[in-house]
Structures are given as structure tokens and as C-alpha cells.
């Protein structure tokens, strides 16, 4: 008789033929183990209860409420009136709102591409050439703008980029260069806002990339060096594939943020000139809180949510071929 029988409540973990015979590993389960496991599970759920409560109350319920509201016509003041999918039909024919989605997508693409490439560039530079102190210094420096209030930064940048009285054009003037209509021409306003968003957000991407680059195995880098790979080849053939999961994460986060761009254009240009920097979220705000069409505004919000989900899904699909998991 094997020893198993002698041990009450014991379980054989590996049932292998005796002739191959490592002695069987036995996990001893003490009496009441199941009850303990259940208690631990309950405790675990209790621990995440608050987080779940927060997510439910502040994320899922508002989304559900918005979804419900999107089928109504509601001006806050009068009772809501059920209109079915009329708000969605209106969305499909609403030129200015569709244009704001187009603007959002264009600006989001520009922001994500710039943010990732600049973040990677800075991370590679800092990772390659600097001491631990230098790395910490740059990491802090590049991360600082992210800690500043977006509203305060936007107001400040508005003054800085003012066409007539701003410091930027003042210094351009000292160099004999003409003033640039940073925020007063449609293209200028879009570019300026993209640059400001990238400036403020690049620190986050940079920190992610620095950490990821530091975790690239040194032996792999040494091997590539021995094989004669130069810095660029090492970067694009070794480092970038190895940190591609981080790049994917950074891209997803950056894109989600960029698709919800609101503060900078609303504060600096109020969505102008004209509607040049009117993003989807500004459209949503104007429709709801200024034009008192909360049902339609909710429909815009739901469409934006679906769009972000779709784009994020596409990113993950693309990642199957482009992202390398070790």
C-alpha cells in the first residue's frame, strides 16, 4: 500500500506510472481547508469591493445611464421623451459633429505618433548615455509637465502662443522672423494644440520606455553587438521588438487619452477658429451643456465610446503580428 492511503485527506498530485517513479508529491490539506479557502475568497472579494463599487458607480452606471439617455430627447428641464434611435440617425447626418470626430481622429493620430516616437527617442538617448543620476534627473524633468494642471498649462500656453502679445512671437520677432498665427489659424491651432498635448504627455511614455529598455537582457544586446549590429540595427531589430508590449500599452493609453481631448482646445481656442479644434468631446459638451440636448449628447458619447473600443480592439489585433512577447 502506498503511503497515500496512510495519510488521510491526502491527494496525489501527479499520477505517474510507478516504473517512472519519482515518489509521488503529496499535498496535505488540513481539516477545514475548503472553508478556509472560501473565507479567503470572501476576504479577497471584500478587499476589491471598494474598487468594484467605484468602477460600478463611476464608470459602468454612467455608461449605462448615457446609453439609456441616448434614446431620449431631454433638455434637462422638460420630462425626457423617448425617441428611439433618432439621436443616432441625427448623428449620421450631422455634418459639424461628424467633422469634430474627423478632427479628433486626425489630432489623435498625430498626438500618438509624436508622443510614442519622441518618447522612444528620448528614452533611448537617456538610457544609452546617462548615469543613474542623469536618468533620474531626466525622468523627473520629462515627467513634471504631466503633474501640472492641464487647465493651468492651457491658460499659460494660450498667453505664450498669443499671436500679437505672446512671448513666442515676441522672440521670433527679435530674430527677425514674422509672427505665427499659432492659435488664430485653423491649421496653426491644430498643430499648436497637438504639440502642447505631446509636450505634456510625453513624460509618461518616456518613463515607460526607459523602464522597458532597462529590462532588455544585456546578454541579448551583447550578442547583437558581437554579431556586428550597429546602434540603429540594435534599436530597431532588438530593443524595439523586445519592448513592443510596452509600446502597445503606451499606444493604447495615449490613443484613449487623445480621443478624449478636451481641456487644451476648450481652454485655448474654445474649439476654434471656427470649428478647427472642436473635438468630439467638445461637440458633446456643447450639445449637452450649452444647447441642452442631453439625449443627443449621450448618443455622441456612446458613439465615441464605441469608436475608442473599436480602435483599441484593432490595436490589439494588430499587436498579434507586431508585438513580441518573450
Amino acid at each position: 500500500m502506498s503511503s497515500v492511503a496512510a495519510v488521510p485527506h491526502a491527494v496525489v498530485e501527479e499520477d505517474v506510472p510507478h516504473h517512472k517513479a519519482k515518489p509521488p508529491r503529496v499535498v496535505r490539506r488540513r481539516p477545514g481547508a475548503r472553508r478556509t479557502a472560501r473565507r479567503e475568497a470572501v476576504f479577497g472579494y471584500a478587499m476589491i469591493f471598494l474598487a468594484m463599487l467605484f468602477v460600478t458607480v463611476f464608470t459602468f452606471l454612467p455608461i449605462l445611464a448615457s446609453l439609456g439617455l441616448s434614446f431620449f430627447d431631454w433638455d434637462v428641464i422638460s420630462p425626457p421623451k423617448f425617441v428611439g434611435i433618432a439621436n443616432y440617425q441625427r448623428f449620421l447626418a450631422d455634418g459639424p459633429v461628424l467633422q469634430s470626430f474627423g478632427t479628433t481622429i486626425c489630432m489623435a493620430i498625430a498626438i500618438v505618433v509624436l508622443q510614442l516616437s519622441l518618447g522612444l527617442f528620448l528614452a533611448v538617448l537617456v538610457n544609452q548615455r546617462t548615469s543613474t543620476f542623469g536618468r533620474t534627473f531626466f525622468r523627473t524633468t520629462f515627467y513634471l509637465p504631466l503633474l501640472a494642471s492641464t487647465a493651468a498649462v492651457s491658460i499659460f500656453m494660450g498667453y505664450l502662443f498669443d499671436a500679437k502679445f505672446g512671448a513666442i512671437n515676441y522672440y521670433l520677432g527679435l530674430l527677425g522672423l514674422p509672427g505665427v498665427p499659432w492659435l488664430t489659424s485653423p491649421f496653426g491651432a491644430q498643430v499648436t494644440i497637438v504639440l502642447i498635448v505631446v509636450w505634456q504627455q510625453v513624460g509618461f511614455t518616456f518613463v515607460l520606455f526607459v523602464s522597458a529598455l532597462m529590462s532588455v537582457p544585456i546578454d541579448v544586446l551583447e550578442a547583437s553587438s558581437i554579431d556586428g549590429a550597429g546602434p540603429l540595427r540594435t534599436l530597431f531589430r532588438i530593443k524595439v521588438p523586445l519592448i513592443s508590449p510596452t509600446i502597445l500599452f503606451a499606444a493604447v493609453i495615449a490613443l484613449i487619452n487623445a480621443m478624449q481631448l478636451f481641456d487644451q482646445p476648450y481652454i485655448m481656442t474654445k474649439g476654434g477658429p471656427g470649428t478647427a479644434t472642436t473635438t468630439a468631446t467638445i461637440s458633446m459638451y456643447q450639445t449637452g451643456f450649452q444647447n441642452l440636448q442631453f439625449g443627443y449628447s449621450s448618443a455622441i458619447a456612446i458613439v465615441l465610446l464605441l469608436l475608442i473600443l473599436a480602435i483599441t480592439g484593432m490595436q490589439f489585433l494588430a499587436s498579434r503580428k507586431l508585438v513580441f512577447y518573450q
Partner: protein
């Protein structure tokens, strides 16, 4: 029996208790935090507290509340006034936030309402007509209030023949100028009969001063924007008309034969959009051309804080302002005498614009009678400087428009504020004002950036036509 001295609590219990404790603390914090985030004092209460929404910061609201409390106690010793501040860049912003509070079921008993929000709130039946209250107290109000208030302000607060608001302040769009810059340019102060041509000549003269100084600046908004030129040019964004009715007021509140009540009716009725009319295109193109020729910078949207900073730091020669600029410029550091004001220059005519503000009672209020008593108290002459310390707006009462009031702040020609009300028209704020303001901002900046008024105003016409039909 010997007692085993082990740990009082094992690790698992400690975690469990810690988790429960943390959860409790977090829940308590969440509840307290959310309670703290909720606007205090709002909600039409049925207890002894009257709530009012105030356009400004909470510090000013608290000061106002403290100052008014003794007066409220005189009305009813069991009554308490709670003033809740709402910050905003302009009345448009204020209105949007008030509506958000209403959506959240936090409607107050009373609210400060300006022209911008009057028809919106009245048409949605958020505020109640004050006709019954006014009629009841007509005898005292006639002598103590109406005969001291310009009828233009009263008519601007009427809608479909009913009075919805008791105004106590206004701002007419006049032209402020920096006396130092005019002196430097060797230009005389404008006369009361000046025209847009005179204004243009002055602007060209100021341009010669050079440096960082520009002759003129303006803000993209409905009040006191390129719209001032539009009014002077004989136009408007919407067809001007008036609701019938109002005789119940005009025949009793003012002395018969008062020339100022001639033609007054039941409030302004804003008709079909005329945003791309010839006067409109000409007026907007005029200010765009000023920018093209270096006579003005690109305008800001909303508010007016940046403009005030530029004007007070001597970078702008002239701009459109109202009585609120007397206090605003003084607070920004300008000395009395360093700026002055003149009525807006005439163009095709001398029509100018104004906006007015006062107090309304919410339909949901449980204490409308008490609210009415408090409103009467707030529009008394001695309440004005409590409500608006330091000339931050223009008194609606003529008796308060005195040289003494402007002795320390200026401007010298303060009397133009009130005089300009004769023949002026309120800003065209229909029930769809918010949509109008959004379109005005977008299309004006579009016109400025493209350099052409016509196509932008065509688009604005289309926007307004859609907004007017509610689509």
C-alpha cells in the same frame, strides 16, 4: 491553569480587520467627500433657508450672504439666506452651470439672471412671472423702484407680456479709451456725437504710437463684440420685435406721459435670424479689416480678462466696455483719469446694445413669498453696493448714478452709461441663446481666421435657423 501568551490577533485577522477598517474609512471618506463636493445650500428648501445662486466666487458669495443676513432677519427672524457661488467666464458659462445644477435636482429658490438667460428660463418655465407680486406691491414699488429704473431694463426682463425678473444692474456697450495713449498720439478725446469714421481716424492715429500698442481690441461674444458695430450699423442677429401686452405694468408702474415708456410692450420678441444680412456682413468685415490693417489684434473668445489686462497695461487704445470696467480697470491697477469712456460711435444710426441683470424666483421654490420679500430687499438702493461692491457693474437705478460713485474709480464721463440706454436694444438672447452663443463664437473666429465675413455668417445663419426650430 497557566495561560498561553500568544499573539492577540493573528495575521489573517489583522488583515481582515484592516481591510474592513480601510473599507469603512474609504466609504466614510467617499460619503463625506461627495457631501462636501455637493453645492452647499442649493435645492429649493422648505425649511427656513432661502437659497440663491450667485454669479461670482464663493468668497464674494459668503460676504454677500453675511452682509444681507441682518436684512433678511428683519423680513423674517426665522429666515436664513444661503448664497451659493457659481464661477464662470461669462453669463453663458454661468447659465450652463445653473442648468447643470437644475438637472441634478438642485434648483435654488432664487437666482441672478441676466438678459442672456431670461428668455431661456422663462420659456422653460423654470422661473415664475412676478406680475402678481408686483401688482400687489405696486404702490410702493412705483415710487421706490420703477421711477428710478430705466424702463428699457424692465422691458428687457419681460417675456410674453410678463415680468420675470427685477433688474438692479446693467451694462451698456460704450467705448473706453486710454487717455495716456490718446495723449501720446496727440488725439483729442471723442465727442458725444462721434461716428465710426471718427473712431477709425482715431484708431489710425493711435497706430502711429507704435511699439506694443494697438488701437483697438474686442472680445468674441454676444455682448459688446463686433455686435456693437452691428447694432450701430442698424442690424441685429435676429429680427427685432416685441411681445404684445405689458400694459398692466406700464400703465401703473410709470407716470403717464413719461417719454421713456413710449412704445414699451411685453418684452423683446426675437424673430427670424438675420445673421448674414448686409449690415451684419459689413459690421463683421469692418472689424476683420481692422485686424488686417494692424489696427487690432486677433480677438479672444468669451470672458474679457485678457483684454482687461492688455488695456490696463497700456497695450490697447480703445475697447468696448460697460460700467463694470470702471471697477475692473481700477482693480487691475489703472488710476482714475488714466481711462475714460464715450458712448458707442454712431454709424447708420446710434442704436447700441446693453445687457441687464436681476433676480428671479424659481418655480420649484417652496417659499416664493419669502423669496419675493428678499428680492425687494436686494433691489433697494442701499443693497446695491453690498451686492456689487466697487463699481463692478452699472447701477440700474438712476439715483445711484452719481459723480460721488465714480469719484475714486472714474471714468469722468460716467454719465454715458445711463444715457446710452435711450434708444438702445438688449442683446438678442432668445430661448435658444446657448446655441446662438456657440454659433456666434465659432463663426466669428472662423471669419477672423479666414478674413472673410460673408461665408462664416452664411454658416451662422444656417446654424441659427436650425437652432430656432429646435433641430
Amino acid at each position: 491553569m497557566a495561560r498561553d501568551f500568544g499573539p492577540v490577533m493573528d495575521r489573517r485577522d489583522l488583515f481582515r480587520l484592516g481591510g474592513v477598517g480601510l473599507a469603512g474609512i474609504a466609504l466614510a471618506g467617499l460619503t463625506t467627500g461627495l457631501a462636501g463636493c455637493a453645492p452647499s445650500g442649493s435645492g429649493g428648501s422648505s425649511t427656513g433657508t432661502l437659497t440663491m445662486l450667485y454669479f461670482g466666487d464663493q468668497k464674494a458669495a459668503t460676504t454677500l450672504q453675511t452682509a444681507l443676513q441682518p436684512k433678511v432677519k428683519k423680513i423674517d427672524k426665522d429666515l436664513t439666506l444661503k448664497v451659493t457661488a457659481i464661477n464662470g467666464t461669462d453669463w453663458n458659462d454661468f447659465l450652463a452651470k445653473v442648468l447643470t445644477l437644475i438637472a441634478a435636482g438642485q434648483a435654488p429658490d432664487m437666482v441672478s439672471v441676466a438678459t442672456e438667460g431670461l428668455q431661456l428660463m422663462a420659456s422653460k418655465e423654470l422661473i415664475v412671472p412676478l406680475d402678481t407680486y408686483v401688482t400687489k406691491d405696486m404702490a410702493s414699488l412705483k415710487s421706490s423702484y420703477f421711477n428710478d429704473i430705466h424702463p428699457a431694463l424692465i422691458e428687457a426682463m419681460m417675456y410674453q407680456g410678463h415680468l420675470y425678473n427685477m433688474p438692479d444692474s446693467f451694462n451698456a456697450g460704450s467705448m473706453f479709451y486710454n487717455t495716456g495713449i490718446l495723449h501720446k498720439a496727440g488725439i483729442a478725446a471723442p465727442s458725444a456725437s462721434w461716428t465710426v469714421d471718427d473712431f477709425h481716424t482715431m484708431a489710425q492715429g493711435i497706430k502711429k504710437v507704435g511699439g506694443q500698442t494697438l488701437p483697438f481690441d474686442w472680445v468674441v461674444r454676444l455682448w459688446g463684440s463686433w455686435t456693437s458695430f452691428l447694432y450701430a450699423n442698424g442690424g441685429n442677429l435676429l429680427e427685432e420685435g416685441k411681445y404684445s401686452g405689458g400694459d398692466w405694468l406700464w400703465s401703473k408702474a410709470y407716470d403717464a406721459g413719461n417719454p421713456l415708456i413710449t412704445g414699451r410692450q411685453g418684452g423683446w420678441k426675437w424673430g427670424a435670424p438675420t445673421a448674414n444680412s448686409a449690415p451684419s456682413v459689413e459690421a463683421l468685415q469692418y472689424v476683420i479689416d481692422m485686424q488686417k490693417t494692424g489696427l487690432s489684434p486677433s480677438p479672444d473668445v468669451g470672458g474679457g480678462g485678457t483684454l482687461q489686462g492688455l488695456f490696463s497695461s497700456g497695450r490697447i487704445g480703445m475697447t468696448i466696455g460697460g460700467g463694470f470696467w470702471a471697477g475692473g480697470l481700477t482693480n487691475a491697477g489703472m488710476k482714475n483719469g488714466s481711462f475714460d469712456v464715450q458712448a458707442f460711435p454712431s454709424w447708420k444710426g446710434n442704436k447700441s446694445l446693453f445687457g441687464t441683470g436681476g433676480y428671479s424666483i424659481f418655480k420649484s421654490s417652496q417659499k416664493k413669498d419669502a423669496a419675493w420679500e428678499v428680492i425687494k430687499m436686494m433691489i433697494e438702493p442701499e443693497s446695491f453696493d453690498i451686492m456689487f461692491p466697487g463699481n463692478v457693474t452699472t447701477p440700474g437705478r438712476k439715483s445711484l448714478m452719481t459723480a460721488e460713485r465714480y469719484k475714486t474709480t472714474g471714468p469722468d464721463h460716467w454719465s454715458v452709461f445711463y444715457d446710452q440706454l435711450n434708444g438702445s436694444v438688449p442683446i438678442s438672447a432668445p430661448s435658444y441663446y446657448n446655441a446662438l452663443a456657440t454659433s456666434l463664437n465659432q463663426r466669428t473666429t472662423q471669419a477672423v481666421s479666414s478674413g472673410s465675413a460673408k461665408s462664416a455668417l452664411d454658416a451662422m445663419q444656417s446654424d441659427l435657423e436650425k437652432a430656432a426650430t429646435g433641430s
